[in-house]
């Protein structure tokens, strides 16, 4: 049970019902995190827009499994089990290699990125995401210079920044309102990257 009142799909009307219809998955399933917004539907619109654009948009160039890995990593650092479970399921789906996904998860759970099945550049992206999550004011230009010399271009650095920053928002939506996975279908996402207006979860 969430800590604040929420409105179910069946009881929703007006703007909330229209938004639920846009984001719903199979059998009118609405992810609990979206239901957290039900007393202020316009905030769901803001949330879906940023989520879709930073994680499921055709103009991102880093692979989706890597963006999901950053999301799981940030969520783990923030102790947001809801986002870890949902986005690990998504990561697994996009990576399509359960053995490697398991090794990634083990490294994240153990807070040991060195052990992750990633190349050195990808690992450095996770170190940046960690600093951004845990002590953002301590970051300096040196970190960005290191990311660049490891092989990331500036647009890719921006993509990592956006995903890590978005999860710092989403984790707080979950942790601050008592959102749980009860009744959710894990790992559904607004996966159609070719259409930014398609918010349906599949």
């Amino acid at each position: 049970m969430p800590w604040i009142n929420t409105i179910s799909y069946e009881d929703a009307s007006g703007k909330l019902r229209r938004l639920y219809d846009r984001v719903k998955g199979p059998d009118n399933n609405i992810d609990n995190i979206m239901m957290m917004h039900s007393l202020r539907p316009h905030t769901m619109e803001g949330h879906m827009s940023i989520y879709k654009y930073v994680l499921h948009h055709a103009r991102n160039t880093l692979p989706k499994w890597y963006l999901e890995t950053i999301g799981v990593w940030v969520s783990s650092l923030n102790h947001c089990d809801y986002c870890v479970e949902h986005h690990f399921a998504g990561l697994k789906r996009f990576l399509d290699d359960d053995h490697r996904a398991g090794a990634l998860r083990a490294a994240i759970d153990a807070r040991n990125i060195d052990a992750a099945p990633l190349d050195e550049t990808q690992k450095l992206g996770l170190v940046y995401a960690e600093q951004l999550t845990v002590s953002p004011a301590a970051l300096t230009e040196d970190t960005v210079i290191q990311l660049r010399s490891a092989g990331f271009n500036d647009g890719e650095i921006l993509e990592i920044n956006q995903v890590a920053a978005y999860f710092n928002y989403a984790n707080r939506t979950v942790l601050g309102l008592g959102c749980s996975t009860a009744g959710d279908i894990l790992g559904l996402s607004p996966n159609n990257s070719d259409n930014p207006d398609d918010w349906s979860h599949t």
Binding site: W3, I4, N5, M36, H37, L39, R40, P41, H42, T43, E45, G46, H47, S49, I50, Y51, K52, Y53, V54, H57, R59, N60, N78, H79, C80, Y128, L132, T133, P136, A137, L139, E141, V144, I145, D154, G155, I157, L158, E159, N161, Q162, A164, A165, Y166, N168, Y169, A170, N171, R172, T173, L175, G176, L177, G178, P196
Partner: protein, 194 residues
């Protein structure tokens, strides 16, 4: 201005130019935080959509100046000078009372001494924003019960959650990309956008 490359308003074309036009200030300047998105313009669209929903939307019930105060407080706690500077200013623009009263609130927020001037529901919700910023996993159902006892409705708790959550994002855009105040122009007005 930023540690990564960015594109000026004058040299922007296509999709980015259209977004810059939509999000420029009345004096046609682009906030440095927006310009930081220019290599991936779609992320600017996501950012502004969330920003306008949590802070500048007419369906929020807490007054804009209070939501600005929450954003300012979170930015202070995250040591985000850029956002602190902007929202000290826009909070003052949004505050309908005496300027001295906003100054006292501003001092309390900047020095992390909210109980100097805030009381009741306003003080309790600022405490919630503080915990959500510094140690989000420490919050419990009892934290929310305490807000209700102080007079906050569930919808108001959600509003503060969203503003604090948005600033957790925005502060990291600034601090993680090295967005500075160089060449920045302050807003001349604050407004409910929708």
């Amino acid at each position: 201005m930023t540690w990564i490359e960015s594109i000026s308003r004058e040299t922007a074309t296509g999709y980015l130019e259209r977004l810059y036009r939509a999000y420029q200030r009345p004096n046609r300047t682009i906030a440095n935080i927006y310009r930081a998105h220019s290599l991936r313009p779609h992320t600017l669209e996501g950012h502004t959509t969330l920003y306008r929903a949590v802070l500048g939307h007419a369906d929020n019930q807490l007054p804009l100046w209070y939501l600005e105060a929450v954003g300012l407080y979170v930015s202070v706690l995250n040591q985000c000078t850029y956002c602190t500077d902007h929202h000290t200013h826009t909070g003052g623009l949004a505050y309908p009372g005496e300027p001295e009263a906003w100054s006292a609130m501003e001092d309390a927020l900047l020095n992390d001494r909210t109980d100097d001037v805030f009381k009741g529901k306003e003080l309790a919700l600022l405490g919630y924003a503080r915990n959500l910023t510094l140690d989000p996993a420490s919050l419990t159902a009892a934290s929310i019960d305490a807000l209700r006892e102080a007079g906050a409705s569930d919808g108001e708790i959600l509003e503060v959650n969203q503003v604090a959550g948005y600033f957790a994002y925005a502060n990291r855009v600034v601090l993680g990309l090295g967005v500075t105040l160089d060449g920045e122009v302050r807003a001349e007005q604050t407004e409910i956008l929708f």
